[in-house]
Subunit: 368 residues, 2 copies
DNA sequence: ATGAAAGCGCTAACAC
DNA sequence: GTGTTAGCGCTTTCAT
């Protein structure tokens, strides 16, 4: 082994440091630093020599050293609630696809709604010196906010956050998307529409439920209390909630779910209780995860685009981190939503208009 | 603002450094360092004073500085192929749940089978000075290996890797699980069993296919070439491959898929072509992702436990990183697999044994 | 057992 | 424009 010290320590020195490059390019280390960091005042001739030396030596700047002295780690935190909920990997992916080319590394953490994990997650992020954190948990635990806000560093929240100078907020248009969904169902003739919520501690969950109730009220449709079932944004909870709704004296003709995982659970519960979707009951989700279109039947759902969300989060974060950022003064980003109609929603059972029924019969005849 | 310099630079100094603690505890910074790192030679009395000062000041060691001088970042890389394939978030989660309490931060990256992304991913990991990398892509691109192996640092691969001192391998027992699946189907009476592969560049994909062919040969069942359809471990490819199989003059009575996403796609294609699962055709997956049990019908699949995989990966990595690790000499870890029977597999169509048929009829009568 | 001091690799202030 | 130099916060010799 080429290690000079017969030390048992696994101490690895940089293969090639800024000094090696400086020596080779016959300039000072400061010039190398400037050239590598593209400071404009460097003589082009010298810069070329530096880059050549960098090339030849295979020099890679040491991030730790850089972060230590500059005070900026170029690391940003991304906190999600559950990495195993398919919505979040999609979000993480988009977030990284944007952040990395812009020069930031992403440190992802999921809270799993566990205060202990959250606590340690924040400590770990602070310890790694993140430049800022995007909290995309859709309903932040108070404790988390408090801990984060203490350090006055750049923070991005979804929906709402404390009104402080370094905090930016992504406002999702829940009302718009859910209203579209309700109006879609109402236009098809539905009047008995149920709703399955997520965990109500989350702001965004309450917002979705309220958007549903408001949209229904707008249309003058009453929502009996038992038509609002409580879920937890998981398949399991969606199943349970749907079974509850199915046990009602009269099955609703449609159900709107607070997210797609809930809707998938509902679909499953309906299959188990031998109710056919959408013939007997229409199901609408929220999020439009990739999986949604592969459900049986493909899920009608309100799309909240990961891409939009990720782009806004990265931009908002940079606006907070970089003093000269063009949007440094902006505090709010709007996130649109829109209904995507697929096959899990149709006319209420027994009301299929004659002309459509004819067509359906013809279709069925072909298939059999 | 409390920033002393009216500098536009966002330079944040540590709120409290080792020096502050040393001053407060009236010891040298070296003693603080030793106490904090639990070096045994420190006088318990002084150590107590140090910890008290740490407590009072809220001191948190600066990871960057620590990494810079010690040469160990306590950061390990985890490379997966596709973070949006539900198997991987589950793996990532388990991996972190193990690594973090053991003092390591995890840097996750997904290659998306894109050499460009892979290249930059590796550069980023090297730049952040990872102590080691686990490559869990299930079929490594050669280029990736080469780049990684150049630096002689700890590496863990799945299935196979170059035989070098710092490289450890996780051997998954594909043959065992797939043989169980084939024997399960054969025992039910299936003789016409098809297989949908993943992308064949991957070693593990070839291993699965070969395991299937071997298991079939063992039972003396021939597999016509057109019964091996090529997929890509995605739902879309599973659908396409299944449609291909469904277009055959005679539909196979069962199909084994190289992973669960493929199986889900197959389920979907069968629904679209109005074939009922498992009545007309049995479907078996591989992985046992969380979603598998929520499919309609719940998927029979070969479980490859994320937890086993993650535990082995973390242990193997530490064995490579830490010179004194008890398993420092071990080079191979075995990962078991086993069949989980659910409702997507049953007797071949038209052969339902009489007694079972009776029971099934009774069951159906109850449901209607 | 403890402290003083020498860097780890780099950036940024300052001098020229 | 370029080089010199002083640290960033910490670990680790080396004396004591």
């Amino acid at each position: 082994m080429s290690r000079s010290k017969s030390n048992t320590q696994n101490r690895r020195r940089a293969l090639v440091s800024i000094r090696d490059v400086a020596r080779r390019a016959r300039v000072s280390i400061a010039t190398v630093s400037r050239a590598v960091n593209r400071v404009s005042s460097v003589d082009p001739e010298l810069a070329k020599r530096v880059w050549k030396a960098v090339e030849e030596t295979g020099y890679v700047p040491n991030t730790q050293a850089r972060a230590l002295v500059s005070g900026r780690s170029h690391l940003i935190g991304l906190i999600v609630s559950e990495i195993t909920n398919p919505f979040f990997p999609e979000l993480v992916q988009e977030f990284e696809n944007l952040a990395v080319p812009q020069g930031y590394e992403v440190m992802v953490g999921s809270t799993n709604y566990d205060p202990g994990k959250t606590e340690s997650l924040i400590r770990r992020m602070l310890q790694r010196n993140v430049d800022g954190v995007a909290v995309m948990t859709f309903g932040v635990e108070e404790e988390l906010v408090r801990r984060l806000v203490e350090r006055e560093f750049p923070l991005v929240f979804v929906d709402a956050g404390p009104d402080l100078p370094n905090i930016r907020v992504l406002k999702v248009n829940y009302a718009g998307g859910i209203r579209e969904a309700v109006q879609h169902l109402a236009a098809l003739g539905h009047r008995s529409i149920a709703f399955i919520t997520g965990p109500l501690q989350m702001r965004s969950v309450v917002a979705r439920r309220d958007a549903f109730l408001t949209s229904m009220a707008e249309l003058g449709i009453e929502v009996p209390a038992e038509h609002v079932a409580i879920g937890a944004h998981t398949m399991e909870s969606g199943m349970a909630a749907m079974e509850q709704l199915a046990a009602l004296p009269e099955l609703p003709t449609a159900v709107v779910c607070s997210n797609d995982m809930t809707a998938i659970g509902a679909l499953h519960a309906l299959e188990r209780t031998t109710h056919s979707v959408p013939k007997e009951i229409s199901v609408v989700g929220f999020d439009d995860i990739h999986l949604a279109q592969f459900m049986l039947p493909p899920l009608t759902t309100v799309r909240m685009s990961c891409k939009d969300l990720a782009a806004a989060a990265v931009e908002a974060l940079r606006a907070g981190i970089e003093p000269e950022h063009p949007k440094a003064g902006v505090k709010e980003w709007q996130i649109p939503t829109r209904l995507v109609v697929r096959q899990s929603s149709t006319f209420p059972r027994g009301t299929l208009p004659a002309i459509v029924k004819q067509a359906a019969d013809r279709h069925r005849a072909v298939r059999v």
